[in-house]
Amino acid sequence: MLLIYCPYCEEERSELEFRGAGDAHIARPANIADITDEEFEEYFFLRQNPKGLIFERWRHIHGCGRFFNAARDTVSDRFYTTYKAGEPKPDISAILQSEQDKGAAK
């Protein structure tokens, strides 16, 4: 069972309180009525299902109720970070670098 940090509650809580909500950073086109079939396919149907880093959405459904984003490794299930909906994609290499620096400082 995962341990997930809700960026709104600012607490780590058990996976039981959350529900996954698919890939993050897939914006619904503002002009959706006018996009081509190919663009709609890309927006609605196609997903990468990566091995490794994924940006995904979670909802703290049995908590604050907010949707937020997470950067997770699909192999190790490690969460690099979680962040609020609407915030830009975090720079994962920067997160790893700062961890390394901290490790080295110790």
């Binding site: 069972m1 914006a27 609605f44 907010r66 949707f67």
Partner: protein, 997 residues
Amino acid sequence: MMGANRIPGVGRLTPARTARFTFDGRTLTALEGDTVASALLANGIHLVGRSFKYHRPRGILSAGAEEPNALIDVARDAARRQPNVRATVQEVFDGMKVESQNRWPSLAFDVGGFNDLLSPFFAAGFYYKTFMWPKAAWHAIYEPFIRRAAGLGVAPTEADPDHYASRYAHCDVLVIGGGVAGLSAALAAAKAGAKVIICDEQPEMGGALRYESGTTIDGKNGWDWAQETAGTLAEMDNVTVLTRTTGFGYYNHNFVGLVERVTDHLAALDKSLPRERLWQVRAKKVILANGQIERHMVFANNDRPGIMLASAGRTYLNHFGVAVGSKVGVYTAHDSAYEAAFDLKRAGVSVAAIVDCRENPGEAVLAEARKLGIEVLTGHSVIKAGGKLRVNSVSVARNGGGSARKIAVDALLVSAGWTPSVHLFSQSRGKVKFDAATQRFLPGTYLQDCLSIGACNGTDDLQATIDEALAAGELTARAAGAEGGTQVTLSGENRFGWTGGMIGAAEGAGPDTTVKAFIDFQHDVCAKDIRLAVREGMHSIEHIKRFTTNGMASDQGKLSNMHGLAIAAEALGKDIPQVGLTTFRQPYTPVTFGAIVNHSRGPLFDPARKTPMHAWEEAHGAEFEDVGNWKRAWFYPRSGEGMHEAVARECKTVRDVAGVFDASTLGKIEVVGPDAAQFLNLMYTNAWDNLKPGRCRYGIMLRDDGFVYDDGVVGRLAEDRFHVTTTTGGAPRVMNHMEDYLQTEFPHLKVWLTSTTEQWAVIAVQGPKAREIIAPLVEGIDLSNEAFPHMSVAEGKICGVPTRLFRMSFTGELGFEVNVPADYGQAVWEAIWARAELMGACAYGTETMHVLRAEKGYIIVGQDTDGTLTPDDAGLSWAVSKKKPDFVGIRGLKRPDLVKSGRKQLVGLLTKDPKVVLEEGAQIVADPNQPKPMTMLGHVTSSYWSENCGRSIALAMVAGGRERLGQTLYVPMTDRTIAVEVSDMVFFDKEGGRLHG
């Protein structure tokens, strides 16, 4: 008295404290603290079961959780009976009944033993190959036969009367395993100030110290040190010590499942205690101190009762005071087994010989054997065991051939060396690496925040283990944030250092042989089966495993995996790491369903949701149906009525007079805010800006792919306030769907969503007399057609309590839906009912509601739609705004497949014979005489007897349905074909005048 093979003065049990139990009906005496295995051995019983496939006689192989053979049925009473219990783990309690398994008619004479003679036909892959053809025989012959012949144990027939507890726990350091390593690590972590949980599967801490008699720690006997240390830990406020507790599963983010067996060893049950307690532990750091498991030697007839692991022989002697035989042989590839011979010899038991397949055993053990006068045959192997129900001899030959010498024995202790227990490490998804020098898999790359120490980490030397454990304890405590405390130092010493070990088949069971040399006892897999699998083309260990079923029994191959792997590697001509290890899965040992299911049984399995009027409905004889978790009144049979009669009467009464219906389960969402109308414009296909306060509209919700997701009536209470209703089953997902779009796609909109499903009780009053029924009860709302027409909503009072009153109808009649705060639901219902009953109206249930709405062609999302219907398919294109620039689903609706002709559309069906009621789900074809498989045009989605129409009615999804109006189609059933005519969907009051009555 306490068993003929119990040696006075040996072992740790108290002779005065006895317990009586039965084994296959025979009464035996045990000592308190005995396992079933030790008690049977004390009474000279080695034969305890029959094997799975060949029904070979089997004995006790181990003294621990790894036991593959000695599976028994343990009963306390008729309901408390459990099959497949490991005799080596189950403690004896006074009055317990033990039965052997998998034998008929008796353990010593078993008809299934015939399978052993037929074994050439039961080779690996036998099931896959033999039972392929003919297909029909699977059901009738093969499967029943296999099940009867194979079955391990018999499931109890009565419900489990015990209760089980569950506990969530958090700690800094979780230590799994209470041997030297685990205890030392726990002590170091605890003394450093960390919050520690330490668990061990045995009744007492100590691990290998149970049998290892030559260990001294801090100047004390190892076992004594372990008990003292466990006591010290138990007294510390920051430590939880759990015995009889197995760490069975290592899950994500240091979440570890432990199961504590609380009462299975007690003679008198304390009802306040749970049988087992499930611990769900979230640990900052996990220390794995799981030890190692001894391997058996692979040679012909190595499964004969009386042949057991050397460490087990030592456990029975040193802990339980039981000699496993009176003339014991040892067959080994590892120094450790010598110590079994030494212990036995010192206890006065005759040791026949030590047969060592190695040319050069460790010097120290050789010297000791010489000193004790034990014959050692180095470079020799046991090529065959003699005896059937118990080993009576071993045939020993010099490696490489030569004549065999037969040595009489009544027990044989074996050791091929030790396998580090990397199960939990592997469950944590760490990667093991193969250590070629010691021929074992050890923890390699860690994925989670844990550390392996001691034997499971490949650390053999005692002092090295202690130092590693103390360092790990302190390191994890500090890393988890513990400060202060004291540092621990310990010194330890063993009598002998150990060398040696082998994996794979021993002399006489090699590739050129066909002997029965077992590697997996529980699934009866022999060395030759692995070779056969390779010859048949299985080259991956995962395929070999499944073809032979090696390691797939309930012991998960704790003894067999390494042997199987080595034999496969040899047959494939590859190195072991190239063949690879199969992944270990949770649970480490079997876990009862009781512990997992825990409190979620009976009424707590799935909570029932009841409406505020439930008690009244029950009192008035309603039958209930489950809709999601809701209990809904289904129909109200009067005396002598079946369902059909009751529903016919209710349907008729509603249209002739009126009916009262509990609609409280409808999903309700309050949508509030300055942008509420704009938000609903995006969420529904309809336009909402032009809906005036006080009016309602039927709305359709799509997903972005254009398919119908939900529907419901939405009332506008004020410019900025809407009362949205959803389907009963759809309420949570519609709320989630709205929240998702509001929070992530349209966050600029000022809207607040609140689920109010359970806040409102809803009483639908429908029928020509509906107005007359409620009018005297309502205050502040003019109910006339002019002031309050169909699809109106108003706030006022009913029976003196606040109401949101809707004029709406799901029956096609003049109708109202009275919303009152849930707490007033039953009182208002009773007040309405008092008037309704006087006027000859009825209470009606969901079945009548379904029939009445179908008579009007009103669809139910989820019954008449299936997630692939567009509004147009459902005949609802009028509800899709053509003017709005955007709504969820606007683009999906234009997809080529969604606009092409010939799509399935909802239509009505009228059977040619009006008395025939179609079956919901039945398929529809154009030509019933076409060859099979027929081209199916669609299926029946709703079908009822309509008392009001005097005939059957049905709704159906039919390809190109609306173009087929008037056509005759067919519904083929198993016993007949039913002719139907395609019609529109409205069967009653086609003009709709009754709505406005």
